[in-house]
Amino acid sequence: MSAELEAEPTFVDKFPEEARIIRAAMWGSFLALTLGAIFGIIQTLHRTGLARPFSSVDYYTFLTAHGVFLVISFTIFFLVGLFTWAVVRSLDRPLLNTKITWTWYGMMAVGMTMTGISILAGFTSRIDMSADVLFTFYAPLQAHPLFYTGLVVFIIGTWVAGADWFRTWLAWRDENPGERIPLQTFMVLTTMIMWYIATLAIAASVLLFLLPWSLGLIESVNPTLTRTLFWFFGHPVVYFWLMPAYMLWYTVLPKIAGGRLFSDPLARVVFVLFLLLSTPVGIHHQYLDPGIAEGFKFISMTNTMFLLLPSLLTAFTVVASVEYGARRRGGTGIFGWLRALPWRNPAFTGMMLAGLMFAAGGFSGMINAGLNINYMIHNTIWVPGHFHLTVGTAVALTFMAGAYWLWPQLTNRPLYSPQIGLAQVVLWFIGMALMSNAMHAQGLLGVPRRTAEPEYAGFEYPMAFGGFEELNLQLAIGGTILFVSTVLFIANIVITSWSPKASGLARPLPPALSGPEDAPKVLDNLRLWVGIALVLVFLAYALPLAGIISNSGVFGTGAGTYPVWIDVPTAVAERALAVVTGVTATLVNAVTGVFTL
């Protein structure tokens, strides 16, 4: 068996140029993770009051950077690397034209650098540029034009990446007529179709409104419209993060567990469901928006609840596949088979712990989705508690675990220390459990998210779950453990670069137990699914968008422009002046009986 592995070429042996691109993408991803983690620990200590070496105004710069670098840069650079590997590996052929590949990579890198610079310039007043608008950049808060431009370049880069993979698949299809799309490529193509649909709205919002507005070409934007266009994109983007993780759970995890994927057809069904349902649910991020009718919110709620289905199906398939592997390794009993699994393998354990936390995140997500119950937790720190479990663990930890498995095949170097890798993933689990649990509890007390100082002068939070102060401490401990875990991950990967090369690192993936030949052909009919997806999106969004535009106009009813580098003293002074003027007018009115305003 191991003689075969010794002889089997690794991915980098077979496709050296593609491996270079994938490594470049992943280094970009890990750089973003490093920066995001540094800002994360600063935020954790600041917010909980343990250490505030920076000003609270700078906190919002850290927060914007943490959000953008982690959920745009870290996740999507990893995705493009992973998907390139998956397409090339499953089609067993190189990309059509690596010049195009380097072009899209370059666009993504340049775009993210532009946006990053515009955010980080907010730390110094010597550069008149900032973007303290947070990852959601809601108007009328306005960032520097470089912020929006960078995002546009980055997203167009991802569009070209998708085209690159589609064209490679089409070339393969010409060479292999009548064959089913290999599963990993199928997953890549359906994910990218979802992405094209999703990014239509954010591209429209930025190119038609926000960017011209930041350049002074138009005077005002409609806050409700631009918000709605953001969340049209903002929900499917979480599936853009999640579907690469699902790809790893479906196609790699069973192999690491010693087994095979339970069902290829069901994996296809799940990805088609995500393609269809990810976008028509965005309004569930806007349950408490004035300006959107309740009926649309109710529809979004029902769509969201049905979106639970593919994740629940994934839970079954993944556990079944892992159990199959465990029993092949000799595991017995109703639960005893768990002991037969390769827990010492950080790739395996990382993905399993990520899946476990995802279940918890899914439950808190059900609360978020519950329309009227959303009142209790909207914009509280419960929401970050939820998404640190989902993107922060299900996605991030799976990516780290996947990196442990994939990196040796991209470099021919074994991982420097699997033991540290195992400690790292367990630490992530523990740190996230502590931090996220504290966030959920504080959210129920009413503690807000997105704030530098959650303690207020005029009131005390209700006392429950140990109370605000203790939960702050738990949050900070969790966040610190997460930071240590990130350092261990990055160090492990970086030091691996100096490990001596080795052979025998190939890890071929076995076919599924129930293979693609069992999958109904209609599943591969991508045109059909695109059509249905577009219809569903139209049904979910045409009326709400038309309603917003007819109510308050394409450019809004005259909202002002609020560049985020307005300094607080000016804002306060302006408001004070307005109050004084108002009081004076009222007094004059009372004395003379004549309105002066």
Partner: protein, 189 residues
């Protein structure tokens, strides 16, 4: 396509769970009658709020027996009026808007929570019971002093409310003077 028996069972349970969740939300909407913030109010011009008689002078106003309207402006970086004072055991409808950026309006520890969008007026109706003092915070990032943006919502006894009205008579509350009269005094909003 072969679907394992356990998988069919799991699929059925998943669909039951989804239907239960949708059912519980529907119950919340229909039974206790929890309405969502919606587009019930017409859009306004955020830079001309002083021409809107609700927000030129943000205030609490009696609109019926035990029914009050609170016209609130959320701005960088505070709330107006502050404090928002209402008497106990009454129904209060908040109308909240912003002259500048998007804010949040949350009565801490309760489910009175809404986005405040410039150009829109958010309407939510709550029922208050015993006298209590609540914090009001902005829970949507609105700029560099967002963390300092807070107010107070005070539910006071009938007597205290009358005292409050007397003290503030020359201020904003020029409509609907005495609070404990029956009948519709003041405007319906």
């Amino acid at each position: 396509m072969h679907v394992h028996a356990y998988e069919k069972l799991w699929l059925a349970l998943a669909i039951v769970l989804i239907l239960l969740l949708i059912g519980s939300v529907t119950y919340g909407a229909v039974g206790p009658g929890i309405a969502m913030v919606a587009d019930s109010q017409d859009p306004v011009d955020p830079q001309a709020l002083d021409e809107d008689d609700r927000f030129a002078e943000p205030r609490v106003e009696q609109v019926g027996e035990d029914e009050y309207a609170a016209y609130v402006e959320a701005y960088q970086f505070g709330f107006d009026p502050d404090p928002i004072v209402v008497p106990e055991h009454s129904t209060v409808t908040f109308y909240v808007t912003s002259p500048d950026v998007i804010h949040g309006f949350q009565v801490v520890g309760t489910n009175a929570n809404t986005m405040v969008v410039p150009g829109e007026v958010a309407e939510i109706t709550v029922e208050v019971t015993e006298p209590k003092e609540y914090g009001v915070i902005c829970n949507e990032y609105c700029g560099s002093a967002h963390h300092a943006m807070e107010g107070t919502f005070e539910v006071v006894s009938e007597e205290e409310y009358e005292e409050w009205l007397d003290e503030n008579q020359d201020g904003d509350d020029t409509e609907g003077g005495a609070a404990d009269e029956d009948g519709e005094e003041g405007e319906d909003a």
